[in-house]
């Protein structure tokens, strides 16, 4: 075995150019895999976080009817307590369930600000400022002022402020429709400015204190949703039964819908499926590059036919001939995959700092995705790509290796 490895290794240098081309093909495929995994991982991880922070929480409780009318920002189907328990008691009870770390109420409604040129529509969220800061990464994006606390104050995104031609410290008058469908207006002080790559935060959202929103909309002690934050987002499904059980015990099972972040959003489900699909894409990519190696080995077998005949005459068995060629293929695979993994890792390391700007592609897409994707740099991605490169290429090398092993020694010796 050791001497076959020695020969296989030395054979790699017989036609250096051909070996280099084969190694480069594998290296390129492996590099693409590392890069693609880093990019997709970065995108998915970022998207999961965004959805959890700004849509689903770890577990989301809404009125069953609200699910259908969420896009219309209906105020008719709210979370307003369960059974005999008030909204506050319900929040407290949920917060006391095992694994639940925080309960975040949000009251979402539509609002508009009139400027001299146009009526700027926006999405208003009544929130508990301190909880939002704790749960989301808003603090890092608050570039001026502070988060809302109480009273008539709002925080807006940079682009939205520019649209309405206002800045922090100024007042803004907003119009909105109350829960009784009356059209009203109120003036708020702008206390903070958010700078974000996310269009939702930068140009659509306006945050105001929850109690202020409740008062203005005549929805005291109500919210459109309750987001539950668990100890571990990956265990959200494990904590969900306790939440459902609580709702059922208190007669709220027919009214409310409780969903974990993994099941509550079709886009997240799509991303999860896509992760599996991408693994097949990687496999296909390496298979493509393996064709170069197969081609190289087929040529090698043809060139060394007489040598194979000589080895058989000396007593090398068919499986040893096969092993010799597979070792040569896998030696190329190891070298190519090693350098490919290194190159892919280096690329991801660099791009994880500067990011990849996809803004143009996301302009008209209504999904919660950061338009600048930061690929993740993980050793795990490099190891995965290295392993897939070596395994797939070695397995495909079986084809020409079998061809070599099947050669009849007398025929092979006659070959010129």
């Amino acid at each position: 075995m050791k001497f076959l490895m020695n020969i296989a290794f030395k054979n790699m240098f017989r036609n250096k150019l051909r070996t280099i081309v084969s190694i480069l093909a594998i290296a390129f495929a492996v590099m693409i895999i590392v890069f693609a995994r880093g990019l997709i991982d970065g995108m998915i991880e970022d998207t999961y976080s965004l959805y959890i922070h700004y849509d689903t929480g770890h577990i989301k409780i809404i009125d069953q009817e609200y699910e259908q009318k969420e896009r219309l920002l209906s105020l008719q189907y709210t979370v307003n307590g369960v059974g005999n328990k008030s909204f506050s008691e319900m929040k407290e009870d949920l917060n006391n369930l095992e694994g639940i770390k925080m309960v975040i109420p949000r009251l979402k409604f539509g609002a508009a600000v009139s400027t001299e040129e146009e009526l700027v529509q926006m999405l208003a969220w009544g929130v508990v400022g301190a909880k939002e800061l704790q749960f989301t990464n808003l603090e890092r994006q608050l570039v001026e002022g502070r988060m809302v606390k109480s009273g008539r104050e709002v925080v807006m995104g940079t682009k939205l402020l520019a649209k309405i031609n206002k800045s922090v410290g100024e007042d803004v008058t907003m119009v909105y429709t109350t829960a009784f469908s009356s059209f009203q207006g109120a003036t708020f002080e702008i206390v903070g400015k958010i700078e974000s790559n996310l269009p939702l935060l930068n140009e659509q959202l306006v945050f105001m204190p929850l109690d202020t929103a409740q008062r203005l909309l005549y929805l005291n002690n109500e919210s459109t949703e309750l987001l539950l934050v668990t100890n571990n987002r990956e265990q959200a499904n494990e904590y969900l039964p306790a939440v459902k059980n609580y709702l059922e015990k208190n007669g709220g099972a027919d009214k409310y819908l409780a969903q974990s972040w993994k099941n509550g959003n079709s886009f997240i489900q799509l991303l999860e499926v896509s992760e599996t699909i991408y693994n097949f894409v990687y496999l296909f990519l390496v298979l493509l590059s393996s064709i170069v190696v197969i081609n190289t080995l087929v040529m090698i077998v043809k060139e060394r036919t007489q040598e194979i005949g000589m080895m058989s005459a000396l007593g090398l068995k068919k499986k040893e001939v096969m092993l010799l060629f597979m070792l040569e293929g896998s030696a190329m695979a190891v070298v190519g995959s090693f350098f490919g993994a290194l190159a892919g890792g280096a690329l991801n390391y660099y791009l994880s700092g500067v990011g990849f700007d996809y803004s143009a592609a996301f302009e008209d897409i209504d999904v919660l995705m950061n338009p600048i994707i930061y690929p993740t740099f993980k050793i795990e991605h490099m190891l995965f790509a290295f392993a897939i490169g070596v395994i797939v290429t070695t397995l495909t090398a079986i084809i020409p290796a079998r061809r070599a092993a099947k050669l009849d020694p007398t025929e092979a010796l006659r070959e010129i």
Binding site: F3, I7, K10, N11, F13, R14, Q306, E307, G309, M310, S312, A313, L314, G315, L316, K317, K318, D408, P409, T410, L413
Partner: protein, 229 residues
């Protein structure tokens, strides 16, 4: 004692629908230590006969007994075992592995046997290379050796595992007459020293002069079998 016994050996190749007989009933016995040449015109069946004796090909009919064992019913793996332990081959075009040095090419054959330590292997290979006059050239690759030197390496490779039989298919065909003479003398010397049986095919009269037994083959049949003292 006979090392090889061939009884009614036949080999027919199928070329499409046409059956082409290469050997037509060969009966032959070769004793241990013989230095035998098989000669005849091109296409007479010399190489086919050597392939049969060398366990590289299977006969269509007849029996081959090697060292008192019939090899007719052996599968390809078992035949490889017979070749690995008992046979040495010398080829017309040397067939050395170009990426290995002279030393490594010789060592290749003995490494297949795996019964020697590294040190023992080194000593045996070096001693044999010295014997064939290439002690100083052990580190050279085939492309740094002349035709005669390459064939000497091939002879060393064939002999390193001390086989019972060495088969050589036109071993001097690619060499000039002076180098051919040197190679044949070396083979003769090895035959006398080690008592290894040599069978080689040729159609070169100069080569035949060295053989102690001459077997003539024509149209797949032995037409003359003559021993010389």
């Amino acid at each position: 004692m006979s090392l090889i016994k061939l009884r009614g050996l036949e080999k027919t190749y199928q070329q499409g629908k046409i059956a082409v007989p290469a050997l037509r009933g060969i009966d032959l016995e070769v004793e241990s230590g013989e230095f035998t040449t098989i000669f005849g015109p091109s296409g007479s069946g010399k190489t086919t006969l050597l392939n049969m004796i060398g366990c590289l090909d299977k006969s269509t009919a007849g029996e081959i007994i090697f060292d008192e064992h019939s090899i007719n019913d052996l599968n390809s793996k078992e035949l490889a075992e017979v070749r690995r332990y008992n046979l040495g081959f010398i080829f017309q075009s040397y067939n050395l592995i170009p990426v290995l040095t002279a030393f490594e090419n010789v060592e290749f054959a003995i490494r297949l046997i795996e019964k020697h330590s590294k040190k023992e292997r080194r000593e045996r290979v070096m001693s044999l290379l010295e014997e064939v006059g290439l002690g100083e050239m052990a580190d050279r690759r085939p492309n740094e050796l002349s035709g005669g030197q390459k064939q000497r390496v091939a002879i060393a490779r064939a002999l390193i595992k001390e086989p019972k039989l060495v088969l050589a298919d036109e071993p001097t065909a690619n060499l000039d007459s002076e180098t051919s003479k040197e190679v044949l003398e070396l083979m003769e010397e090895m035959n006398s020293e080690l008592n290894t049986t040599f069978i080689f095919s040729t159609h070169d009269p100069q080569v035949m002069d060295y053989a102690r037994r001459l077997i003539e083959i024509k149209d797949g049949k032995i037409t003359n079998d003559q021993r010389r003292d």
